[in-house]
Point group: C2
Chain length 137, copies 2
DNA sequence: TTTTAATTCTACCTTTAAGTAGTAATTAAA
DNA sequence: TTTAATTACTACTTAAAGGTAGAATTAAAA
């Protein structure tokens, strides 16, 4: 009942970048150190964030990464979608049925509310909203 | 953002048994067929439910499984605990901090509400509550 | 007593997530 | 132009979840 590691890392990386507006460029080494994310794993994630067009990369010496969109335009849910980790509408707590209310599973009624809350949390929170919120992100 | 397969299976198995009060004994073959759970995987899970004392097993020909406790005494959360899949108090949506409010992660405030709702859903729902709720469990 | 239908035990296989290693490509500074 | 610092690419390794196979054990029925 949790986000996978890759998603957690990606959110923390983007939130960190959005949070430090005074800087313009962030190297993989800095991000790895500051966020305690294994360097090699982080670079792999960065590549995906670049492909997803959330991050722009500058290659070569003095290069690095920076946000490609405004922080208010990147929702947490967009990040989760890259890693196929967002909460699908048809996602069922017991893994049967289709969450369409036609054929309910035993926990359906109790599951709808937290599910919707989580979907809203992810869909409505932008990087701008969460940047600066963590005390040691 | 979902329960693991084993937990889902275990809940559905126990709910099925609790739901069919007219029967006294359920064989692994029946449970496997009715619930579409791979036979060999199901027997593995049954063994754990027996060890956890939720299920009593009768070995040998004409044997099978039955509930060992009253359905109202088994909470969904108890089942999740067997497979280390319940939502811990200190569980953080971003995998940092300790959810103690001292050092918040960026999504802390928005995470508390769905988290508590899910904990309550699992802790307060007994087999008795959910048995008979599913249309094709 | 033998057979048969059931659970239990031990061990293995497969898939996916997580993480690591090495090298190539790029580019600015020296 | 060389060097150093950086991202990008390809491939491998490890750990955990999910699933499978087969033989051992049990006990009722035939
Ligand atoms: S009962 Fe509800 S939660 Fe469960 S599978 Fe069906 S639609 Fe999804
Ligand atoms: S900020 Fe809150 S949710 Fe996030 S890790 Fe800390 S305690 Fe957990």
């Amino acid at each position: 009942m949790k986000l996978n590691n890759t998603s957690q890392y990606a959110i923390r990386i983007l939130a960190y970048i959005a949070d430090h507006k005074e800087k313009t460029l962030f190297s993989a080494t800095e991000l790895s150190n500051e966020l305690s994310i294994p360097y090699k794993f982080l670079t792999k994630i960065m590549t995906e964030l670049v492909k997803a067009d959330f991050i722009e990369s500058i290659r070569g010496r003095e290069g690095g990464f920076k946000l490609k969109k405004d922080a208010s335009e990147i929702k947490v849910d967009d990040i989760l979608n890259i890693f196929n980790d967002s909460i699908k509408d048809e996602e069922c707590i017991l893994g049967i049925g289709f969450c369409n209310g036609m054929c309910k599973c035993a926990l359906h009624d109790q599951w709808m509310e937290p599910k919707l809350l989580m979907q809203r949390m992810f869909r409505e929170s932008s990087l701008r909203d969460i940047a600066g919120k963590g005390c040691k992100i």
